[in-house]
Amino acid sequence: MIPASVQILHWSHYVAACLFALGLFGFLIRKNAIVVLMCIELMLNAVNLILVEVSMRSGHPEGLIFVIFIITVAAAEAAVGLGIILNLYRAKGTVNIDAFRELQG
């Protein structure tokens, strides 16, 4: 059922690294707060991919349970984050990170 072939094994880790790096890049350069949040979701998904892969390879469902928890917490985090962004948008009329400059020095 699970062919833990070496090629696939390494591919997963590299795909996850690519996803994580892309998320990191987006987190650093994007100015739209919502897109920044999406980039964080990408990083979390990279983590999920590794966990699924390792879990399926080793035969312990522990990694899959970790994935369930990550998904739950990510949903909560996205909800709270979007709530905060909405509040800021109401006050500022923009979601551009550069506009949030009340707290500088």
Partner: protein, 494 residues
């Protein structure tokens, strides 16, 4: 099976007490609307903290165990941190209810959030499993984001909560990546099993393990605001309501230290015989931590000098204190690690006190700038004198608890070969910190001596200030039993 679960739940009674009061608060809030404005929630939080302390006392007497199939541990290390968290929860709520900044907000919601954050912090301290650590950290983080923006009509508070959120989500993503790499390397999520696997395969994991440890560290460094992840601290502390900021500067920080100590000491398997980390070249890791600690305290202290807002200054100074505390990890013995715990106790009282004074002044003058403190020592002597005690202790002047904490840590560092430079840097940093603490004291006592309009310090605040000043002084003079206590606490995880 059932008997086992009951037995295990007994060991979790401090957390269960918090959950019980969470439900009580939730119920009371929904059926009795008056409680949103009066002091019933404070009484409930105090009851939760008191019962939690009693429960902690009770479970700490039991033999140390790792239970729930290796998810959590009960030992005197967790007991120590539970005391700290329960104290900071009670003090934070007390401060919040006396502050004008949160006067208009729903107190019930605040109490619910702070009790749940305390619950999460307890989880961080007791977990011996990556999954539990993750849930604990996220419980603390996500609810903290909301607490930072609790004064929701204030734009600065919303912005603080946004900054806190963005960096928090980023840090937890980095940490999770580290977790997943560790899981991929060792095939386990439990600290003990990871340590066993790492010990057995020392040569096989040259780069990936240090890399994943660095990733995990950066997630935890965010919680304690240590060097690479410290930049959010001043903004968030400045923007969030002062009572919340004072809670952040104590509670989650101590929780971060608990998690770091347990994680790194367990996984890297401190070896008492040779006095070094066995797993990956002890020497390299020690120099990395030394550099992190040096940068953290220097950045904190140097940035604090130029600040005009006292709240921001204290935020930077709290970064510097994290730098001092990190030094203790380097020594890798009961003495140095116990010194961290001692420092946490001392820091808890003195930092809370200093933030408390800022909160009172901010309520009174509507500003936390340096000049708002002008002459307040003469018009409010209790506030002035206690602030002298807190700041002197923060600066590390003898006779106060901060001095003993620093002395223990520097003393431990001096004894460690090759780290004398760090101790010297630490002392130099303390001197720098003395300069900016003295700036506040000068405003308090030396400027504007005329007792313009004498303002009364309410008994509510006076009791708290004196209550925090007493341990700061007493710990500076009568510290031997406490040192004994912290060394016993740390000994259980070594």
């Amino acid at each position: 099976m059932n008997g086992e679960i009951v037995q295990n739940l007994k060991l979790l009674s401090p957390e269960l007490v918090l959950v019980f009061f969470l439900v009580v608060l939730f119920t009371v809030d929904s059926i009795w609307e008056q409680t949103r404005k009066n002091f019933v929630p404070l009484a409930l939080v105090f009851a939760a903290c008191l019962l939690g302390t009693i429960a902690t006392c009770w479970v700490s007497k039991l033999a140390p165990t790792v239970f729930f199939s290796g998810l959590v541990a009960n030992d005197s290390f967790s007991a120590f941190f539970r005391y700290v968290f329960l104290f900071s929860c009670a003090a934070g709520t007390y401060l919040a209810f006396g502050s004008k900044e949160l006067e208009k907000q729903n107190r019930m919601e605040f109490s619910l959030l702070i009790v749940c954050v305390t619950f999460g912090m307890c989880l961080m301290a007791i977990s011996t499993h990556l999954l539990m650590l993750y849930i604990g950290i996220e419980t603390v983080s996500i609810l903290s984001f909301v607490m930072a923006g609790f004064k929701s009509e204030d734009l600065r508070a919303s912005e603080a909560s946004f900054k806190y959120f963005i960096f928090g989500a980023f840090a937890s993503a980095l940490m999770l990546y580290g977790f997943s790499l560790i899981y991929g390397l060792t095939g386990s999520l439990q600290y003990g099993e990871i340590a066993q696997y790492v010990q057995a395969n020392l040569g096989n994991m040259p780069y990936l393990l240090p890399l994943s440890l660095i990733l995990v560290y950066s997630g935890l460094a965010y919680k304690i605001s240590a060097f690479p992840m410290h930049f959010w601290t001043p903004d968030v502390y400045e923007g969030s309501p002062t009572p919340v900021a004072s809670f952040f500067s104590v509670g989650p920080k101590a929780a971060g230290f608990a998690a770091i100590l347990r994680f790194f000491l367990d996984i890297l398997s401190y070896d008492a015989a040779s006095g070094s980390w066995k797993a990956i070249g002890g020497e390299q890791l020690v120099s990395v931590v030394a550099i992190i600690s040096a940068i953290t305290m220097t950045v904190g202290n140097l940035s604090a000098i130029g600040q005009n807002s006292v709240k921001r200054m204290l935020a930077y100074s709290s970064i510097a204190h994290v730098g001092y505390m990190l030094m203790g990890i380097l020594t890798l013995d009961t003495f140095g690690l116990g010194a961290i715990l001692f420092y946490i106790i001392a820091y808890c009282a003195m930092n809370f006190g200093a933030f408390w004074v800022v909160s009172i002044v901010a309520d009174l003058k509507g500003s936390d700038r340096l000049d708002a403190f002008r002459g307040l020592g003469w018009s409010m002597p209790v506030l002035g004198v206690t602030m002298v005690i807190f700041l002197a202790s923060l600066a590390g002047i003898p006779m106060f608890s901060g001095f003993i904490g620093k002395m223990l840590i520097f003393g431990a560092i001096v004894k460690t070969p090759g780290l004398l430079w760090l101790a010297v840097l630490g002392v130099l940093n303390s001197v720098v910190s003395l300069y900016y603490y003295a700036k506040i004291l000068r405003e308090l006592w030396l400027e504007g001596r005329e007792p313009g309009n004498p303002s009364e310090l309410s008994i509510y605040h006076g009791v708290a200030l004196v209550g925090l000043a007493i341990p700061t002084v007493v710990l500076g003079l009568w510290f031997a039993p406490v040192i004994h206590f912290v060394e016993r606490s740390i000994a259980t995880i070594l």
